[in-house]
Amino acid sequence: MASLNHTITSKPSVHKALFLKASLFHYNNSKPTFISHSKRSSPFFTTTCKLKSPQDSKKNQTNLTNKILLSEVAPPPPPLAEEGGNEKVGGKAGSNGSGGVMGLVKRLPRKVLAVLSNLPLAIGEMFAVAALMALVFKCFVAFTFCESGFCAVELRRTFIDQGEAPDFYFQKYPEDNPFLGFFTWRWVLTLGFDHVYSSPIFLGILALLGTSLMACTYTTQIPLVKVARRWNFMHSSDAIRKQEFSDTLPRASVKDLGVILMGSGYEVFLKGPSLYAFKGLAGRFAPIGVHLAMLLIMAGGTLSATGSFRGSVTVPQGLNFVVGDVLGPTGFLSSPTEAFNTEVHVNRFYMDYYDSGEVAQFHTDLSLYDLNGKEVLRKTISVNDPLRYGGITIYQTDWSFSALQILKDDEGPFNLAVAPLKINGDKKLFGTFLPIGDMNSENVKGISMLARDLQSIVLYDQEGKFVGVRRPNSKLPIEINGTKIVIEDAIGSSGLDLKTDPGVPIVYAGFGALMLTTCISYLSHAQIINCVLMLMHSSSLHIQKIWALQDGTAVVVGGKTNRAKAEFPDEMNRLLDQLPEIIESSSPK
């Protein structure tokens, strides 16, 4: 019964294969769009697999020869999906019985690929990434009307704050009064919303997006380039007329057109009466480049997250530290290097000021010493100008007040330790205290000194009254209740951030590639022109049909583009206008 069934189906199936192949072939020419390609390829697949069901080894041979015949007609190499099919035929011959299972096993990754390269899925993933990021930081807008009628917009950050201790979330999202009826701290902590950017959900979606990128590049973009590169002649004028742009030139030669197209940057293939030309292969490669660049950035980012060291330190001027003591690993790939033994000495920390008294720039003069105590590098760093040595980068990020050096009644100098009093953003305030009189009494009184920066010190007496302002280095003494004080120097400490990041070169390569490929894919306007021409009086296969339509020599031109659709016809018309007209026509009627 199986054989009977087979004999009935075998012939149509061969036909079907041919038909489908033709349709696929044609399809690739006409519609190089993302999703439809994968859709189209899967039915074709199932058909080829059906052909190779165990009963029909003989038919496989005829099928194969048919295919070869067909590819003789069309010079291009077979498309990707078909290669897979042929491979499977070979595999079948070897393993005989278990072909079905093997086919399934081999098919599975392809199905996964097809699913992953699905565009709506990718779009959904991108939406998910965006939504997760937006969730963390959502603005809550409340309009409050003031008495004057002025409408003030009050914006508050009311969504999930990041990186707080669990207690914070217990309070903010209590179980007895859930947000939106269901949202409690359990949700926040289980889903990792307290640290979204490193939560498994976020990273998982990013990874999924990465695999989608790869799958899309493999299953859709690369075949598109192959299709574009193929010699892709069309042998029927009807097919050409179906193109988005088509025109019939009554008296013309296809060779002249070839020359003109070559002159304007097309790659031209001529075979007998048919011509195929294309331009804008860069535009085909560029989206692949964009995806690869994204993958490169993702890979670099992963390496950064798993293989870097970070640390920050506040060092008073004149002291030193060892790099390795400050840096702490961020992931399991972090491994220290030789340069970690370097000792850093802060020679000097100083600030530049504007005339208005505001800080213009911070500078730290650093010296690097190796294990033998030899100075290997010396550089003055500032914000926007870090120091790089052996993979370690040292940034100037912060500053602090370390100590105040004073002379009391010409004695000293004494170093008074300075403490930060109120740190509110950039408005820093530091203070110190010089006790006067009996140190052992219960309430010690003395002189208070306050400073916002290293430039000027404000002094207050024992009663807390303002006395005066002195600049360090001014040598100008100040008398407070009989005590003469000279402020010798203000010693600052430099806040430094240190890091090693092996991912940076990869990420930067990705950045460069992304910028380049984005620009290229925009600039390659007139994308692919699939321009097929036919000369009427030649002996082609479909010549009869056309003879009925036209008389005399004629060139049918068809073209298409996938971008700049409005400009393409203009360009084609401009090109075709250059085509010389053949006066002498030798066509038999």
């Binding site: 991108m126 930081f137 950064s304 890091k499 950045f511 992304l514 984005t518």
Partner: protein, 320 residues
Amino acid sequence: MIFSTLEHILTHISFSVVSIVITIHLITLLVDEIVGLYDSSEKGMMTTFFCITGLLITRWIYLGYLPLSNLYESLIFLSWSFSIIHMVPYFKKYKNYLNLNAITTPSAIFTQGFATSGLLTEMHQSEILVPALQSHWLMMHVSMMVLGYAALLCGSLLSLALLVITFRKFFSKINNLVNESFSLGEIQYVREKNNLLPNTFFLSSRNYYRFQLIQQLDLWSYRIISLGFIFLTIGILSGAVWANEAWGSYWNWDPKETWAFITWTLFSIYLHTRTNKNIESVNSAIVASMGFFIIWICYFGVNLLGIGLHSYGSFTLTSN
């Protein structure tokens, strides 16, 4: 001193010229189309463009750096970007460049009006550059970002207009307004069509015109958004490189960075929906118009909060 006077004069000229241009638009919209007036509105946009350019250059000269360090300056730059988007198709002599008129002119006046309004008076004075901003990347990063915002805002506004026209039943009133303002550019074209076709086909020609308009809007929003997307990409990447120089890491998940990334993701979704022919232009227009709000959150909302590393452009609203 002379510089600030000059700046003052230029601001006022450009602002009043844009107001006049908008008035002209309204007159042509509500009363009748007068060709002479229409031409003068074109000249007005030219004047505005040169005024804002002059304003930026003046500020540049006396500050010593490209004026992009706070919200006021970036708003002026945004306004300038709108006028440049307005100018570009004009120079390229596209037949249908007038299409953009209805979008760019009001955008320019609104941004400039906001920049020069009382809300931001304290910012008019040139501020000193904080240490982190003293870099050559400032020019590259901020100008690219603002150009990108301007282009993306224009594109998404065009998409919004497309949505309004498509769903005309739902908002017929607004639609009339938008339709009419766009018809300024198309009116000539439609008239030609009307002359060609017999009067009996008026209804179908009206439909045809609507179809044409939707096609035009779709095409232009796609073009402008893909241009803006490039600017945004370059802006974000140069910002990342700068952050690696100044803050110690190329990506800090700072609110502004996060929102810029959300914007970027959204518009890459838009560009992907455009590659698929099965997805209708209306759907991609919905994505693009979501982008309109996202950009405002990114550009403005984050500044309003004044948190994170990008707090240079922040300001506090005073209720009195």
